[in-house]
Amino acid sequence: MKFASALFCLTIIASSTAFVPSTATAARKSVQLWASSSDKNDESWQYHVSKILATGFMTASLWAAPAMLQNGPMIEHGPQFFPAAVANAKQMASASGSRVNKDPESLLRYGLPIQSKEVRIERVESAFKCFMRHFFPFTPFLVVTETHLFLFNIPIAGKKTAKGN
């Protein structure tokens, strides 16, 4: 099992590098960029590492998609395309189909903002603060704000524009 998971991780990394320029090229490129302009310093190894991680994640999510859990070639199965992995989703109450959720109280419960984006951000912030307080008690000024969380996913080059500077 451990061997299988290790093999899986290796395959993901290997396949993700197929979408990303090789490290040698990246290094050369970054050197050239540093030589040409000091503003491009941001696009160094962090940028390439984040790119590799992003492609690795994309590959993993594609491989873990329900359609990929199929045994054997998909075309031969014809209409029985989706396996039992998505049967659960089919049986759940949804906005369409025969199992529409018509219970008004249930809908009102789902409408309560206990899982909204604002609440989630608040939770992530408080969890991070708790973590920092626990492990780094002498750095009381490090605080992650909502803005930091949003800017986290934006490429370094576009961060200035996103901040509105």
Partner: protein, 176 residues
């Protein structure tokens, strides 16, 4: 989030009882019972006491609903005994769902507010939920005939949700 998972289990009990998938309904009862024992369930609550009471209310219905579902399994299909057992299960499930509503309402952060852009700040805003009860009467006190039974008046209760439509729901309230 634990509360949402618990909600799914509790709502699926009713769904499965209604289509007479009784074993599946019992499984959902077991899952709900297991989730109620999780200490993380009431962590996001504003008032732990209210949440603990709501959880206790749900827990108190676990045994009655299990017994009712088992009774309905023992009775013949379509018999009066099965009908009575299913009705008991429905009643228990309703109590559980009501307590669950109380529990989830306690999980809304105390300072939760949807921000409104400045250009709309002069408009009326509904910050939480409002309940409007309407009573309909026919002219000359004529009754409402529903399935052969006469009713003097008809009541309609609306819950207007300010969490999802702060401005538009406030406007609709102004029309009432």
């Amino acid at each position: 989030m634990q509360a949402r998972k618990l909600q799914k289990e509790i709502e699926d009990i009713e769904q499965n009882v209604s289509v007479k998938r009784k074993s599946a309904a019992l499984d959902h009862v077991k899952n709900a019972k297991r989730m109620l024992g999780d200490s993380n369930l009431i962590k996001p609550c504003r008032d732990a006491k209210v949440c603990a009471a709501a959880v206790a209310d749900i827990q108190s219905e676990i045994e009655p609903i299990s017994a009712a579902i088992k009774d309905s399994m023992d009775a013949f299909n379509g018999s009066d005994q099965e009908r009575a057992a299913i009705d008991k299960a429905y009643a228990s499930q309703k109590k559980m769902a009501k307590a669950l509503t109380v529990l989830e309402e306690q999980m809304i952060p105390a300072n939760y507010e949807v921000k409104v852009p400045d250009e709309y700040s002069d408009l009326p805003q509904l910050k939480k939920r409002a309940t409007v009860e309407m009573v309909f009467k026919k002219p000359n006190d004529e009754p409402f005939d529903i399935n052969g039974r006469n009713y003097k008046e008809a009541k309609m209760t609306m819950i207007i949700d300010g969490y999802t439509g702060k401005l538009s729901q406030a406007r609709s309230l102004f029309l009432c």
